[in-house]
Homo-oligomer: 341 residues x 4
C-alpha cells in the first residue's frame, strides 16, 4: 500500500499538532512538505519532524503533483482561499474549522470542492473523541429512543488574549461553533431556531470589544426536540466538556475524564484532581482519530465523516445566535441562510 | 417546653405525609386535628396515627383557640382562602405550594398574613434537601465566588393523569415552579427575565389540553448571571433532580442519590440501579426538615425560611414562562407583576 | 391483625434505637415494657416513647403472658441467660450480637431455644442494609457465577474507650465478628480456615491491654474460594464499610454512601464530603428492616433470617482468628469447635 | 544535545512496544539496532520503524562502541546473562522484569552492574502509571500520615497459555511480582513476612501444572503495617488494577480508568463500559514514562528510579509466597535470602 503524501499548510499550534500526529502516530501517510507565511516556522517544524520540504507559501505544495492531500491549518481568513486553490489543484483537503466567517466565501469554497470532486473534511475533532463518539453511537442505536433534550456544557479554562477575541467573530463563531457541531452530531438532525443569552462576567475587556464571555443558547431541532448549550470563557477547575442526550427511553451522558484516578480521603472529605487543562490534553486522541479517518477516506474514496456542509451549518448557527443576542429574540437559521429552510 | 399544637387541613397524599412526619419523626409538636372535605379521609388518617380529632371542614380547627398552627395541604384552589381564614384566626401557617394560581389572591392572602402578624411558610420542600441545602451553603460561603451560570435538570418519572394536567396551570406553574424556587434559593438573587421553549414529545394528549411536556427555560438574573432549567414529564430511569452552580472560582454540583450502592461488573460493563422513583423517596428527608424548621420558627417567633414572597415569585415566573412560550420572546417578570421591577 | 406485643430488655444505646424504631417506624407491633438494671434508664426510655411499663429487671416482662416477643439489648454477658429464660417463658427472641463470648453458653442458649420452639433472631443488622442485601441477592442470582474472592473493608471512625476494649473479647470478637457474618452472608457458604495478622498502630494503649487495632484476616471457604477482611479502629474520614465479591463471571461491589451529593470543584480539584460518621447513621435503615423482618417471622412462624447458628459461627471464627494471631499460623474452625468439621 | 543511541535486544511483544515508544514518542534518543534470536523478527521490527540495523544475536549491539544503552526485552532466562554482558561492554541497561528466576543469577548480574558502574533500571512499569505515581506522591507527602494498611487488587482479563504458565515460575513470580513491587513502592518500606493462600478456580489445567490461579497474599511490613494483595488470572470485566493505602490521617485510592466516559441510563439502571482490556492499554502511558526516565538517568548519570535491588526483592517475595503456600505458614523474607534480615 502506497503511503498517502501529505502537505501541511500552516505551522502554528494546530498545524504542529497535526504534523506530529501524522509523523508519529498515523501509519500509511507521509508528511512531505510544510508551508507557512513565516518560513522559519515551516522550516523549524519540518526539521523537528524530519519532513523533507519547507516553504514560505503554499504554492509549491499545491503545485507538486506527487502530493495527494493537504491539511489547511493556517489562519481562518485564508482557509476558503486555500480550499479553492487546493481543490483546483486536485488535492484532497482537511481544513481546520471554521471554513470561513463569511458565508459566501464558504459557498464558493464548497462549490470549488464539488467541481473538483476532491474530498473535503472539516476539523470538528470533537466528533472523534471516544466518549462523544460512543454517545452518538448509543443515540443512533436507539438505546434512548427518540431524543428529547440535549445538554452541552462547554467551558474553557481561561479566555484567549483580547487581540484574538477581537478578530474571532465572537464567542458563538469561535467557541460555541464546536458545540453547534456537537449538537448536530449527537442528535442526528438539524437545528431550526436558536435563542441566545449572553453576559460579561469573566472579564470586562471582553465586553469592551463587543463580545460576551458567558452564554446560554437554546436550540430547537426539526423534530421538536430542544437543546441547550452553556459556555464560559473561564472555568477555574479546568476544561469542562460534558454532553447529555435525554430521550424517550433513557439518557446518555458524558462526564469529564480526569488526569488520574487517585483520590485522597481525609477528615475533610474526598479530593480528586482538577480536570485536564485544555483541548490539547482533553482531545489528544480525537486529533489522531480524525486524521486517521480523513486519510482512510482519501485512500478509499469515501465520503468524509465531517463534510463541507457540516463545516458550513455551525457558522450559520453562530450568526443566528449572534443576531438572537443582538435582537433579544429567537432566530431561525433560515433567516441567516434561506437555503436552510 | 410545651408541644406546639397543630391542625392539618387536607388528608390527601401530601397531608398524610406531613401528618406522619409530625407524629413519628418530629419531637415537640402534637397533631391534634385533621380536616378534609372528605370527612372519611380525615377520620382514616386521624385514626391511623392516633390523632384525636377529625372533621369534614377546617372551621373547627380554625376556631379552636388551643391550636397554634395549621398545615394547609388541601387542593390548590383552597389555599389562599384558608390562609386568610387561618391568619384571621391567629394561627401560624404552613401552606403547600403554590399559594394560588391567581396573583391577586396571593396578594390578598399575604396581606392577611401580614395584618395578623402570623408566620407563613410555603412548602418549597426541596430547599431542605441535605444536598441542595449544602449547595446553597457553599454558594453563600463564597466557595465558588460570584455565580455565573445555574443549571437545573428536573424530570419526573411519569406524567400525572391528564385530568390533573388540565387544572394544573400548565407545566411552568405545576412542575417548573419548584425549579424557579430552587433557582432563587441557590443563586441568592432574583430573576428578571425568562425565555421558555416547550414541546410535546412525551404524550400527545398533553398537547391536546394545551400544555407541553418537555421544556427548557432560560433565566436572566439581576446580576447578569444566566440560568437554564430543563424539564420533562417522563424520565424512564427515575426521578432526575440535579443542580449546578458555576461561578468565578468554581462550581457546585448535586447529582442524584441512588437507592443503594451495589454495582455489578461483568463483561458487558458496570451496572448500577435506576434512580429513586419519585419525590416521596427522593425528598423524604426534606419534608421532615421543612416541618421541623417551621415548628422551630413558630416556637421562637422567627422569620420562616420560605416566606410568602418566596411563595409568590415562582408563580410570577411561571406566568412569565407561559407568556414567553406563547409569544416566542423573552418576558420580564415586571411584565407580569410591575412591583417586581 | 393483632399487634405483636414486645418487651425490651436493656435501655442503653442499642435498646433505645430499637425501641424508637419499634414505636415510630414499624407498624404492627407494640412496645409494652422496658427493663434495665438501671431502672431510671428504663423509665426514661419508656416515658419518652409512651411505652406503658418500665422495670428494673426483666422478670416482669418474661412473666407477662401477654408479651409475645422480647428484644435482648442488655450487656453481652447477660445475653445467653436471658435467651434461656425467655425461651423457657415461651417468648420469641431478638438478641443483639454476640449471643455470648463463651461457646458452651451459646450452645446451652441455642438448646433452650430449640426445646422451647421459639424463634431466635440474632442482631447481625448489616445483612439488612439495602446495599449489602442487594449484593447478596446478586451473588445468589448467579450474576457473578461462582464466587472466587471476597473482600471486606470495615473501619471504625474511632476506637471505643479502653475500658470497653478490655472486656470486649478483642477486635475479632467485637468488631470483625460483623464481617465474619457478612462473609458467610455474601458467599452463602462456610469458612473452614482463617489466618489473622494484627498490629497496634492506632493507639498503644490498645496493645497494652492485649488487643490489636489494625488487622487483616484471610479466609478460606469450603468451596476453595478465598476471602480477606481488613479492619482498623480508626478511619479519619468516617465509617468505612465496603464489600466486594469477585467471581467467575463478574464482580459485585458496594461502596460507601455519602451524607449528601454536593460536590465542589475548584482549581484545587473536586471535593466531596467525608463518610457518614458511624453505624447509627450508616445502618439506620438496616435496623428498621431487621426488626420488621423479625416481627414478620414471629407473625408468620417463619425461620428467622439470622438464626442461632448464624449467631454462633462468627464467634467460633473470632476465636479461630485470635488463636491464629497468637500462634502465627492458619487455624481451622474445627480446631475451635469440632462440630464444624 | 546528542541523542542517546539505544540497542534493543528482543523483538517480541514488549520489545516492539518499547521500540515504538522510543521511535515515536520519546525525543532525545535514537534506536539504532534491534537483535532477536529470530533474526526475521528483528528485521521486521527494524524495517517497520526505520531502525537502521537488525541482528540475529545481541553481540553486534554489545560490541558497537557508539551504542550507549540497551533495552533487554528477550525471554526471562536470558536476562541475567545479557545484563552481565552489557555491563561488561559498558552499556547502560534497561531490563524487563524479572531479572531472573534464580537468585544467584540475579546477584551475579547485579554484581557485574556494580563493577561496571553502569545504570541498570528494571522494568516495573506500573510505578510510572500517573495514578499510582500520584498515590505514591501523596503517601510520601504525609497526606495520609503513617501508612497502616495496603490493599492491592490485581486481576488479569484471561490466563496466559498453559505452556507459558508451566515455565513462568508460578503466579507469585509471574503475576504477583508486579504487586510486590507496587507494595514496596507505595509504602516506601520493606516487607518482612508474607502469608499466601491460593486456589484453582479459573482453570483446572492450571492446577494440573502445579500452579494456582486465584491468590490472596498478606504482607507484614517492617513498621508493623499490614498489606493484602488479591490476584486472579481471569476477570471477565477487564484488567482490574486497584490500589489503596490507608493510614493514620486518611486514605489514598486508585480506581480503574475507563475506556470512555459515556454512561447510559435506562429503566434498568446505569451502564458504563467494561475496563480497558489489558496492560498494553491500561499502562500505555507508563511505558513511555519509564523509558523517558531511564534515558534521562543515562543522560544525567542519575540513580535509576527502579534499581537492581528493586528488581531482586520482588523475586525473593515471590519465593517466600510460594513457600508459604506450600507449607501453609507465614514465611519471612530472610528465610529465602538471609541478607534481607
Amino acid at each position: 500500500m502506497r503511503a498517502i503524501r501529505v502537505g501541511i499548510i500552516g505551522a502554528g499550534r494546530i498545524g504542529r499538532l497535526h504534523a506530529e500526529n501524522l509523523v508519529r502516530r498515523i501509519p500509511g501517510a507521509e508528511a512531505v512538505a510544510v508551508a507557512d507565511v513565516v518560513e522559519e516556522a515551516a522550516r523549524g517544524l519540518a526539521e523537528g519532524l524530519g519532513i523533507p520540504n519547507a516553504f514560505g507559501e503554499p504554492s509549491p505544495i499545491l503545485g507538486d503533483p506527487s502530493i495527494d492531500a493537504v491539511l489547511i491549518c493556517s489562519s481562518t481568513d485564508t482557509h476558503a482561499r486555500f480550499i479553492e486553490q487546493a481543490a483546483q489543484a486536485g488535492k484532497h483537503i482537511f481544513c481546520e474549522k471554521p471554513i470561513a466567517l463569511d458565508l459566501e466565501e464558504i459557498d464558493r469554497a464548497l462549490a470549488a470542492v464539488e467541481r473538483a470532486g476532491v474530498i473535503l473534511q472539516v476539523g470538528f475533532n470533537r466528533r472523534f473523541d471516544p466518549s462523544f463518539a460512543e454517545a452518538r453511537r448509543l443515540v443512533q442505536s436507539g438505546a434512548i429512543g427518540k431524543p428529547h433534550v440535549l445538554r452541552i456544557t462547554s467551558r474553557d479554562p481561561a479566555p484567549p488574549p483580547i487581540d484574538y477575541i477581537k478578530v474571532s467573530g465572537g464567542i458563538f463563531l469561535d467557541m460555541t461553533i464546536h458545540d453547534f457541531d456537537m449538537a448536530r452530531f449527537l442528535m442526528g438532525e438539524e437545528v431550526v431556531e436558536v435563542f441566545a443569552s449572553g453576559t460579561v462576567l469573566v472579564d470586562p475587556k471582553i465586553g469592551e470589544v463587543g463580545d460576551v464571555d458567558t452564554a446560554v443558547v437554546t436550540l430547537r431541532f426539526s423534530s421538536g426536540a430542544l437543546g441547550v448549550i452553556d459556555n464560559s470563557r473561564r472555568a477555574t477547575y479546568g476544561y469542562d466538556q460534558r454532553v447529555e442526550v435525554f430521550g424517550e427511553r433513557g439518557m446518555v451522558r458524558v462526564e469529564n475524564p480526569k488526569p488520574h484516578q487517585a483520590v485522597l480521603s481525609s477528615e475533610d472529605g474526598d479530593y480528586s484532581p482538577p480536570l485536564l487543562h485544555f483541548f490539547v490534553e482533553r482531545y489528544a486522541e480525537s486529533y489522531v482519530r480524525e486524521l486517521t479517518d480523513f486519510l482512510s477516506c482519501v485512500r478509499e474514496g469515501k465520503q468524509p465523516p465531517v463534510t463541507g456542509r457540516d463545516g458550513k451549518i455551525p457558522v450559520v448557527m453562530g450568526y443566528a445566535a449572534k443576531r438572537s443576542l443582538e435582537e433579544g429574540r429567537p432566530v431561525k437559521l433560515s433567516e441567516i441562510d434561506p437555503s436552510l429552510g
